[in-house]
Every structure is written in C-alpha cells, then in structure tokens.
Symmetry: C2
DNA sequence: CTGTATCCAAAGGGATACTG
DNA sequence: CAGTATCCCTTTGGATACAG
C-alpha cells in the first residue's frame, strides 16, 4: 500500500489477494479487464451454448435471441483471441464455420454455470426484493 | 419453438433448460437481464469486497480503483434493490453508511469467486493465446 | 461523509449494405 | 453462410457542482 492509499501491483495483479491485503484494486489490473470480457452479456451466452459441442455461426445467431450479426462476430473473435473458443472454417460453398469451446473455455464455462444457476434459482427472491424496495421507495 | 424459430417462454424463462431443449434465448428473458447486472464490471467487485463484512461508502470507493462516486452510488442502489446488499445509515454528523452483503448476495459472491479465481489462475494462458492470435493475424 | 443532479464526451451496439 | 464496413443513434459513465 502506497501513501496515497492505492497499491501498485506489478506483473499480474491478483484481485483476491489484493482484497486480503486491504489494498485497492488497480484500475488498470489485467484481471479486471479479463473479468469484464468474460462477464460480458454475449460472451456468457455464447460460452454456455458452446458447451454442448460444435455450433455454426448461424446456429449461435439463431439461438441467442436479440444478438446482432455484428456483436456475434465481434464477440466470437474476442473469445477466439483469448483462447476460449476455436474456429474451424470448411472450404465449402458457401463456407461452413464451426465454433467450439477450448479446454480453457470449457473450464470457464463451468464457473459461469454457477452464476447462471444462481440467477435462475434465486430469481424469485430477487424479484421479491425488488418489489419490497419499490414499495418502500414509492410509498 | 414457434414457427419463426424463436421460443416464447412464459413466467421465468430458464436459460439452461432453454439450451437443453434447443430453443432460442428470449431477448427479454428476465434471467438474462439479471445476469447482465450481476456480471457487471462494478457489481462483481463490490460484492467481492463486501464478503469481508461491512464496508462504508468511502472505503468501497477507495478500494475499487477507478470507480466514480456516481457509479458506486448507482451500483449499490441496484444491488440493494435486488436484495444483494443492505444499507444501514447511522445518523451521525456527518452521516455514516455501512453496506454488507445479504445471505443472497453472499451466495452469489461464492459463485462469482469461481469466475474471479478462473480469471486469476488462467490469465497466463489467456495472455499466451492472445500473443499467438496476434502473431497469426499480424503475420 | 454520502449522496443527487446535470452536462457532455466516449463507447456500445443496431441497421444496412456489401463481399468471398 | 459467414462475415466486414459504415453510419448513426443510444447508452454509459466521468467530471463537476451542489445538498442533507
């Protein structure tokens, strides 16, 4: 901890160890950037879907309601760059592209599942809390 | 599955069961909205910090590098509304406010920890993948 | 200390058109 | 089919000022 109350962490800052030490999270922490990407709206859904095996671009697009071609393409490229999915293009006419999760991506998917399961099972409690809050604020 | 290829799910759509059925995720699925909020950049960090016990507004602000007063305030209110954190204001001068995670919030925090731990331990692999990707695309 | 309100710049992301 | 490029509107979020 430096004198101004923030910590300067070299190498790969570990957010959890920063917590244990009582340090501040560096704003430019690589782990935080990665966290932003993997917690991303579309990344979560794509990884979840790719747990079932290979899927084609169009299949992903169809099954993720509301995603635009641009965002799907963009997110897939980011996932590929991070080593979370692989892309295989077959030279058919028209071209066939298949995406699948890498072992690294599958591992992340397992962690994300927990978050998704939480959201699904706890949704009623969240909605009840919202109603209570709104009633309290509104009244 | 309706004829246009999308599914209309009533009540609380379950994304995982939608996957198992091969249905599309509804774009307006409440679970997806909740997922967006809990995967949010700031929510994750706040919940992580509140696992240690109570923290004051200023302490949170100090320990989360780069968060603005506006976003901290805004995110805390959203978390409170969802029943994930509680807010206790003491009528001191100036006022003292303490936040802590609810049981529901703590439970979510456990799930988020897995995601964070993944990010921290797998970061080297992700960075290696990025270098490989950039080399392949650049070259 | 813990907020809220406002302004405004920057980023996100949809729609559309086009290509191998 | 599976993208890329562009336009442009919308949302996000920081900075600042102000208040209980």
């Amino acid at each position: 901890m430096t004198q101004d109350g923030t910590s300067t962490i070299v190498g790969i800052p570990q957010v959890t160890s920063a917590i244990l030490r009582g340090d501040a999270y560096a704003a430019d922490c690589p782990t935080r950037r990665l966290l932003d990407r993997i917690g991303d709206k579309w990344s979560v859904l794509i990884l979840l879907l790719l747990g079932d095996g290979e899927l084609r671009f169009g299949q992903l697009k169809q099954r993720i309601g509301g995603i635009s071609q641009k965002m799907l393409s963009q997110t897939l490229r980011a996932l590929e760059r991070d080593g979370l999915v692989t892309r295989h293009a077959e030279a058919t006419v028209p071209v066939t592209v298949r995406y699948r999760a890498t072992p690294l991506g599958s591992d992340l998917r397992a962690a994300l599942r927990l978050m998704i399961d939480w959201a699904e099972t706890r949704m009623p409690e969240v909605q009840a809390a919202q109603r209570r809050y709104d009633a309290r604020v509104g009244g």
